[in-house]
Amino acid sequence: MNAPLLSLEGVSKTFHVRPVLGPARRVEALRNVSFSIEPGRALALVGESGSGKSTCGRAVIRHFEPSAGTIRFRGADIFAGRTRRGDRAYLAAVQMVFQDPFASLNPTHTIRHHLERPLRLHGGAGDLEARLRRILTDVELDPATTLEKFPHQLSGGQRQRVSFARALAVGAELIVADEPTSMLDVSIRKSVLDLMRRLKEERSIAFLYITHDIATARYIAEETAVMYAGQVVERGPSGAVIGNPHHPYSRLLISAVPDPARRFDAAGGDALAFTRQAEAVRRLAAQPVAGYREVAPGHFIAYSETDHA
């Protein structure tokens, strides 16, 4: 096994929220989160909104420093001994692709501008024009028709491809992709996922794939971690976590994924019972995790102090 490219060790983050009205609160957005990603592999973080999955991604791109724990990139603490040069190298190596391709590209600039700048700033040898073309071809866009266009002249799927091209332009080794397909139409979602898969396989780019869409997690990520209330409740090979979830919260989440084979009017049909069960499972999953037990190689389930397991 390779050394991990990225590893999170016991990462916690507490936000102190002081609203204009009402009392100040502490929000434990991340609690003791640990996982690692190897080069050319993908880890999916799945969970409901507010589970802490995006906060995790933002910690990795250094939007803020964790309150506790360590994030390592190629073995080095990303917050220790920062230098300008180190910062620049990290920014090039770790790139983010956001959910909204409309908001992440500047509407007043052409696609050429969006890609030329990172190519220039982050150096690299060779003819600029040739590199521009190669990068667009890499993300399956036609350089001849795309380069001089403005973002609004492209479809959502094409724009998202430009976002990936921009990450490639600086030589990204890890891409943090936060719901990159959730604003796209169903029929183009898969092609963007296929692109991610290809970048992973052909260019050994690692992905931290943040999503609420569990079926896509299995499609591109070797490993999946299920988060709830800032904690990882289950983690392991995607096939095992999604196909055979152990933690009650993972079971609840996966059972709610739309499945045409199970009709709502047939499936028990008792709405109140499902809601009560969901509430009970959420309460349980919000308990502090006391530790993890390994149910199969690499497949970890969280347990809390009140568990008898």
Partner: protein, 267 residues
């Protein structure tokens, strides 16, 4: 459907948008029926015209959209010919609508109760006390405690807001509820909670649903019949099971193939 008369019959509907370069036909000769107590799903990608149809049925379409052809019959009466007062009375009590974003359909500066009261005062001339009782009853029906009536929309979670909208949509016992992507903004667990609630309420109260979504898998779990739209036309319609098991139209097959499916069984 063996029922002699459907609840809603959309016949040959055409909706055009006026644009600077001419008219754009967003809905092209669409016809479908919804039976009593039936859930009809309208599936398709953004821009296919499915929401335009929903707005047209409620006559909530606004310029530059206009209905250029077709009829919309509700229990045999032409909705497009309703005079203003009849239309206003019909909305909420004959047919009601649940939108994708509950935050946008609730008034942010009024409490939940004030929004119920507004509807009940207009339609039923109910006084405050009676409206309060009715609103509390509806809240209980969708699984919300009555004290939430005094909350403002922003104080509720997304799922609770959508439950409030659902409760309001059912208050005047409409025979048709149009749901336009009602759970798209919600998490899957909350989505399932709400749609199971709708299934249970339909069993109890009896109403039909026009359910609009881009999520075919979800639709197959929820709808009795499904119509698939592409570029303003219905390209395939049929029972939910047959549309899952043996889609006929190439576009339906492509839609299915486009989604990574979750495999393996879960308890």
């Amino acid at each position: 459907m063996s029922a002699p008369e459907p609840l809603l019959s959309v016949q040959n509907l055409c909706v055009d948008y006026l644009t600077p370069t001419g008219t754009f036909r967003a809905v092209r000769n669409v016809s479908f029926d919804i039976g009593h107590n039936e859930i009809l799903g309208l599936a398709g990608e953004s821009g296919c015209g499915k929401s335009t149809i929903a707005f047209s049925i409620m006559r909530m379409h606004r310029p530059p959209a206009f209905i250029s052809e077709g009829r919309i019959l509700f229990e045999g009466d032409d909705v497009l010919a309703f005079p203003r007062r009849r239309l206003e009375a019909w909305r909420w009590s004959g047919a009601s609508m649940v939108f994708q974003s509950a935050m946008n359909s609730l008034n942010p500066v009024l409490t939940v109760f004030e929004q119920f009261r507004d509807m009940l005062a207009r339609h039923e001339r109910m006084d405050r006390a009676a409206a309060r009782r009715k609103a509390a009853e509806m809240m209980a029906m969708v699984g919300l405690p009555a004290d939430r009536l005094d909350a403002f929309p922003h104080q509720l979670s997304g799922g609770m807001r959508q439950r409030v909208v659902l409760a309001m949509a059912l208050t005047l016992k409409p025979r048709l509820v149009i749901m336009d992507e009602p759970t798209t903004a919600l998490d899957v667990v909350v989505q399932r909670e709400i749609l199971q609630e709708v299934v249970a309420l339909r069993r109890r109260l009896g109403f039909s649903v026009l359910f609009i979504t881009h999520d075919l898998a979800l639709m197959a779990q929820f709808a009795d019949r499904i119509a698939v739209m592409l570029e303003g036309r219905i390209v395939e319609a049929g029972g939910a099971e047959s549309l899952v098991a043996s889609p006929r139209h190439d576009y339906t097959r492509r839609l299915w193939a486009a989604m990574p499916r979750i495999e393996g069984t879960v308890a």
